[in-house]
């Protein structure tokens, strides 16, 4: 059975083509722009459009993640670091471009040469789509018992990858804490506490009582939404990771409106550090419990001792898988939410120094004796 691009049968293909062209245009703009702020804004835009394209490609989970991460967290960190660094990049002399250009063109030609032998776009019979990928679709409901196949693969079949991914976030949080500290300086010096973020911004916000009130209502809602995304991940798009990012963004919004020191009092950096490692511990702990019950690492069928598993799951089975996935998703959420918040504290806590010292060198506090 051949697949011959029935464009009309699948309107998302047309939609996707348009989005791709948009992506290419945005990227061109990034290549030529030298203003860092413009580049960052365009990068945020790029990821949002990419998220749309993912939806067109039937990948809502990826789209969700890309939107919250690329459009949210990445852009935020980039903006924060521009605040801490400089505004525009030096121009690149053409002579410096020769070698990279050759390398890039060579690599591009190589890929295109290979792409020629890849089965056509959208081909359901391609090796990628016909082998393991299809197996998951056929087996998930029987073996794991949840409708969202992406969640099932993510949390169960390839749960070990996801443990790794959580560890990466943990490691990044550790790294940023090492490099930039825990934002302690925002707390340490009362005189500067108020300037924790861009002083102009803080001043502006003070006039906006409406904004403060609105934020006070918004943040619980965001928390609620985060929890919804977490627990809804089995059924629809979403999951622990997206939930964690949303929770972190809620905290960041709080910090933007009420000042970093307020947020750090409510959610201390030490708690974030604990949360980041607790998340990984929960995840790995589930795996260890599985091993103790006689299964392989992360084999949630062994989350409960076999008799209890029988009792809990009834005829359909999969109680272990359900609870296991929820448990590890909670772990992921904990690590991601705390980790990203800690990263944000690190960057934001650095701001007063830079602001007060201008281009001079900052003091040594991240390390050294």
């Amino acid at each position: 059975m051949e697949w011959t691009a029935p464009l009309l049968a699948d309107p998302s293909l047309l939609f996707g083509a348009a989005l791709l062209v948009m992506l290419a245009a945005i990227l061109c703009a990034i290549v030529v722009s030298r203003k860092l702020l413009t580049s960052v804004a365009l990068t945020g835009l790029f990821t949002l459009v990419a998220a749309l394209w993912y939806i067109a490609m039937d990948a809502p989970d990826v789209a969700f993640t890309e939107a919250v991460v690329g459009g949210g967290v990445s852009t935020l960190i980039l903006l924060g670091s521009i605040l801490l660094t400089r505004e525009s990049a030096e121009p690149v002399s053409p002579s410096r471009m020769v070698f990279p250009a050759i390398a890039v063109i060579l690599a591009g030609v190589a890929i295109l040469y290979a792409v020629g032998s890849i089965p056509g776009f959208g081909d359901p019979a391609s090796p990628a789509n016909a082998s393991v990928g299809r197996d998951y679709l056929e087996r998930t409901y029987k073996e794991v018992g949840i409708p969202n196949v992406v969640s099932a693969v993510l949390a169960s079949y390839r749960g070990f990858d996801t443990l790794g991914e959580t560890t990466v976030v943990f490691a990044a949080a550790v790294g940023v804490m090492l490099l930039l500290g825990f934002g302690e300086r925002a707390l340490g010096d009362p005189a500067r506490r108020h300037e924790a973020l861009n002083p102009d911004l803080v001043e502006e916000i003070d006039h906006h009582v409406v904004l403060r009130v609105a934020t006070k209502i918004m943040i619980p809602l965001m928390f609620l939404f985060g929890l919804y995304v977490l627990f809804h991940g089995e059924v629809g798009a979403g999951g622990g990771f997206q939930a964690g990012v949303i929770l972190a963004i809620a905290l960041i919004v709080h910090a933007l409106v009420f000042g970093l020191s307020e947020t750090m009092r409510a959610f201390p950096a030490a708690a974030m550090r604990a949360g980041a490692s607790a998340g990984v511990l929960i995840y790995a702990g589930v795996g260890v419990i599985n091993m103790l019950n006689g299964g392989a690492f992360l084999d949630y069928d062994f989350l409960f001792p076999p008799p209890l598993e029988q009792a809990l799951s009834g005829p359909d089975g999969h109680a272990g898988q359900h609870y296991g996935i929820i448990a590890i998703e909670i772990g992921v959420t904990a690590t991601v939410a705390s980790g990203i918040t800690a990263i944000f504290y690190g960057f934001a806590g650095r701001a007063p120094d830079i602001a007060s010292r201008g281009a001079s060198r900052g003091p040594e506090s991240g390390g050294g004796s």
Binding site: I30, L36, G175
Partner: protein, 156 residues
């Protein structure tokens, strides 16, 4: 040939974008811009994977009942033989595996980005600039007179 163009354009555009972001990354001397390039490069690799996962006429890989309204509507647009052959229980789905991989890759990307930017901030604090050229000049100037004592930062 036409077929190849009709389906291959996706990969062509993605590869072009991939290479453009790599180009930004390799040429610029600005740390922040380098991180932007790196982040875009990773995103475009994600686009490539997701392009692989597309199944014509498919839907998101969240199991739905073929008898439900949504399922019926989905199936109605496709050749029944096609659905029979490539669908699972009467519905054609996208390939979930690349989605999972790219979810992971996105997370890895943001982790790298934050660590990279944190280092960039420290570079700026230590050298007063985020251009690699300026950093190089400062290092060259520092190593020129060969001070006999510790060569750490002046205010360390």
């Amino acid at each position: 040939m036409i077929d190849a163009l009709a389906t291959g354009y996706v990969y062509a555009i993605i590869v072009a974008m991939m290479m453009a972001s790599l180009f930004v990354l390799l040429t610029t001397g600005n740390l922040i811009r380098k991180m932007i390039g790196l982040s875009l490069f990773q995103t475009t690799a994600g686009l490539f994977y997701i392009a692989l996962s597309k199944v014509g006429g498919g839907t998101a890989p969240i199991i739905i009942d073929a008898e439900s309204a949504v399922g019926q509507a989905r199936a109605a647009r496709l050749d029944p033989a096609y659905v029979e052959h490539f669908g699972v229980d009467g519905v054609v789905y996208g390939n979930p595996l690349p989605h999972v991989l790219i979810l992971t890759a996105i997370v890895v990307g943001v982790a790298t980005l934050s660590v990279g930017l944190a280092i960039a901030v420290r570079v700026r604090e230590a050298y007063g600039d985020t251009e690699l050229d300026a950093v190089r000049r400062a290092d060259a100037a520092a190593s020129e007179p060969e001070p006999p004592g510790p060569r750490g930062r002046p205010n360390a």
